[in-house]
């Protein structure tokens, strides 16, 4: 097990910048998730850590050792592929035992460790089956088995649940996390699915267009998004942005939006006049007839335990997550009030969050 450190990692394909100067440290034993839309550079970063791609510049340290230009086989890592990459001409036992065979372990040891791994993953009854006949979840377990059988320093996983159907995915999410807790291995996991990321990760790096937008614990990323991209990418429905024109000063605790005063955490920096956006999570909105911020209900989406109500305001559409028993009807005019201490403020031109008391003590990507 080892810490993984990535320093100023950069990868370009011709003129295209796939990964732009990423730096982060994954602590020993962490379950680390790289999250982002397709083409954001997360898979390329993973492949560089694995040694399947060489970086254009920068360095990768695995357990303190510089492995930037080492071959994949010299890095002591295991990789779980999106399509599992189980060898179709081998059965389950041979597939799991393959990494041990590659490094020339004696047959009796391979047998023993394969069976131990299979028991851990509860696929010991499948050992002599052909991999082509397996169900998706079992294939996934075999792929995991092949990864953990060698007990490498780190596991790298490239959207390993991407091809499973939703039901299996939830189950495997849970199993993966349990497995991680049991063997406590440093894991780097790539996905575009925020639910997978939020439910499994110790730390998340949200990537966009080759940049790491934010690095932090799931809760920190959700509560204190460093950029508008992160705020919008995480959460469903995403964070609402109420855009307005104005200037803010350090020490202020409110902004003026049209005629309404909105209270928010104390600002820690000045921002000259420009486009600003107030960031509000849907669950931090309440209907309040006394509020000066008014809008017309556009639609309501009933979800059982709660409902998502879309309100058209002067600042654009706002989605609120309300109790399911709140009565709303389309066309109705309502007042909106926000949970002040959970609001974020963004500078629209740079997309970055303006520092407030909410962000105190947080780390930013």
């Amino acid at each position: 097990m080892a810490e993984i450190r990535v320093e100023n990692l950069r990868k370009t394909f011709g003129d295209f910048v796939a990964v732009a100067d990423s730096s982060f440290t994954i602590d020993d034993g962490d379950f680390f998730v790289m999250l982002g839309p397709s083409g954001c550079g997360k898979t390329t970063t993973l492949r560089m850590i694995a040694g399947l791609e060489l970086p254009s510049s920068g360095a990768i340290y695995l357990g303190g050792e510089d492995v930037t230009f080492n071959r994949a086989s010299q890095r002591d890592i295991a990789f779980v592929f999106q399509l599992f990459a189980l060898y179709p001409h081998m059965n389950v036992r041979q597939n799991i035992g393959f990494p041990l065979k590659c490094i020339g372990r004696p047959r009796s040891e391979i047998r023993e460790r394969v069976e131990e791994t299979a028991r851990l993953l509860r696929i010991d009854h499948l050992l002599n089956k052909s991999v082509s006949g397996l169900a998706g979840g079992d294939r996934q377990r075999v792929a995991l088995g092949r990864a953990i059988v060698r007990r490498p320093m780190a596991f790298l996983m490239d959207e390993p649940l991407g091809t499973l159907d939703a039901e299996f995915r939830d189950l495997m999410c849970e199993e993966l996390r349990l497995l991680h807790d049991r063997i406590d291995a440093t894991t780097v996991y790539v996905t575009h699915d925020q639910l997978e990321a939020m439910s499994m990760a110790d730390k998340i790096a949200v990537m966009n267009k080759g940049y790491v937008e934010q690095f932090g614990a799931p809760q920190e990323i959700y509560d204190r998004p460093a950029t508008m991209f992160v705020a919008e990418f995480i959460g469903s429905p995403p964070m609402n942005f109420l855009r307005f024109h104005g200037a803010v000063a350090k020490g202020a605790a409110a902004v003026r939006m049209d005629a309404t005063e909105v209270i928010l955490p104390v600002l820690r920096e000045d921002r000259p006049e420009g486009e600003l956006a107030l960031g509000v999570r849907p669950e931090h909105i309440r209907f309040d007839d006394a509020s000066g911020l008014r809008g017309e209900v556009f639609e309501a989406e009933y979800l059982g335990t709660n409902q998502i109500v879309t309100v058209e305001t002067g600042q654009g559409m706002v989605k609120a997550r309300l109790r399911a028993d709140t009565r709303v009807s389309a066309g109705e005019t309502v007042g909106l009030s926000f949970l002040s201490e959970r609001l974020s403020l963004f500078d629209v031109s740079s997309g970055r969050a303006i520092q407030t008391a909410l962000y105190d003590g947080g780390r930013h990507g």
């Binding site: 694995a50 040694g51 086989s73 990789f79 592929f81 399509l83 990459a85 060898y87 393959f98 590659c102």
Partner: protein, 316 residues
């Protein structure tokens, strides 16, 4: 299977199926008829083979096969009378026609040449083709598309168009009428087909398999041998059949470039002359035997061939 009359896009209507079966059977008959005719002619006597109207029912004779494998000399009846009784059935058959067996013919040798050259060039084409196709499929190669086109372009003219230059070239470097010369020539012709076919097959094998093997500790070569080759087996088998069919049947170059030691069966068979012109039963016997290896090879790899042709049509 209820009373539903809904139109199915999968199950053909009965008459469509009957029609398609009929067409397939008709095509099979048309294709197989010459082969049946050759097979039958091989067991006819020379007189029967050229009788008109052709005889469908006849008394089978092994004369064609005996003539194929032997050289014979005609003797006077006086001389024949002095000979001891024939010691085997072939000798007896020949003596009926006032001849004696003078020795074995060259057919065995020529057949062996065909085997050596056919399988040798097939092996070499597939071996080189697989390596080249792997490189083209997996690595960044400068001018890759141009190189692939260049390889294909070697098939764009009829091979015989370059026959004279090759003939002169081979004569000057001493490759005329050698096994090596013919193997190299057929390999050169086959390799474009092999590279193109195999590149298609290897492209279909996900890169992840090799990457997994590389991470697990195999070298690139080990990953190629242990992971890529087993999965490309189908494609390799299909390619091997196509290559073998070409080099086995090739006639024009063999006629031009070989005359003795390295002559293959195709140019040899038509030269079998019997009394009073071509000995059709012997020619037919030679053709029948010549068909056997390639039919056997194809049947052996039939499963792969069928998968090979439809490979890639459906995403697995």
């Amino acid at each position: 299977m209820s009373a539903s009359t809904a139109h199915s896009v999968v199950d053909a209507k009965p008459w469509t199926r009957h029609l398609s079966s009929a067409l397939v059977i008709l095509y099979a008959l048309i294709t197989i008829l010459p082969l049946v005719w050759i097979f039958m002619t091989g067991f006819k006597t020379p007189q029967d083979s050229i009788s008109y109207p052709p005889k469908v029912v006849f008394e089978p004779s092994l004369e064609g096969y005996v003539n194929l494998f032997t050289t014979r000399s005609r003797q006077t009846p006086e001389y024949m009378a002095t000979l001891p009784p024939p010691d085997n059935w072939a000798e007896a058959l020949v003596r009926d026609r006032n001849m004696v067996i003078a020795g074995p013919s060259k057919f065995g040798e020529r057949f062996l040449n065909s085997v050596i050259i056919g399988f040798g060039s097939t092996f070499l084409s597939v071996f080189l083709g697989t390596l080249a196709a792997y490189a083209f499929s997996r690595f960044k190669i400068p001018l890759k598309d141009d190189l692939m086109f260049f390889i294909l372009s070697t098939r764009m003219m009829p091979p015989i168009a370059v026959a004279i230059p090759i003939f002169l070239m081979y004569r000057s470097v001493g490759l005329s009428d050698t096994h090596l010369g013919m193997i190299l020539l057929y390999t050169a012709v086959n390799i474009s087909l092999a590279v193109w076919l195999l590149k298609g097959f290897i492209d279909e094998i996900p890169l992840e398999y090799e990457e997994a093997a590389l991470i697990d500790g195999y070298s690139r070569l080990q990953a190629f041998i242990k992971v890529v080759l087993p999965q490309a087996a189908t494609g390799i088998a299909a390619t091997a059949i196509f290559c073998l069919i070409f080099s086995w049947n090739e006639y024009a170059f063999a006629l031009l470039l070989t005359s003795g030691t390295a002559q293959t069966a195709p140019p040899f068979i038509p030269t079998i002359i019997g009394e009073g012109g071509l000995d059709w039963p012997a020619v037919a016997a030679g053709a029948t035997l010549f068909l056997i290896p390639i039919v056997a090879f194809t049947i052996l790899l039939r499963k792969h061939l069928l998968r090979g042709i439809t490979f890639g049509a459906v995403r697995k």
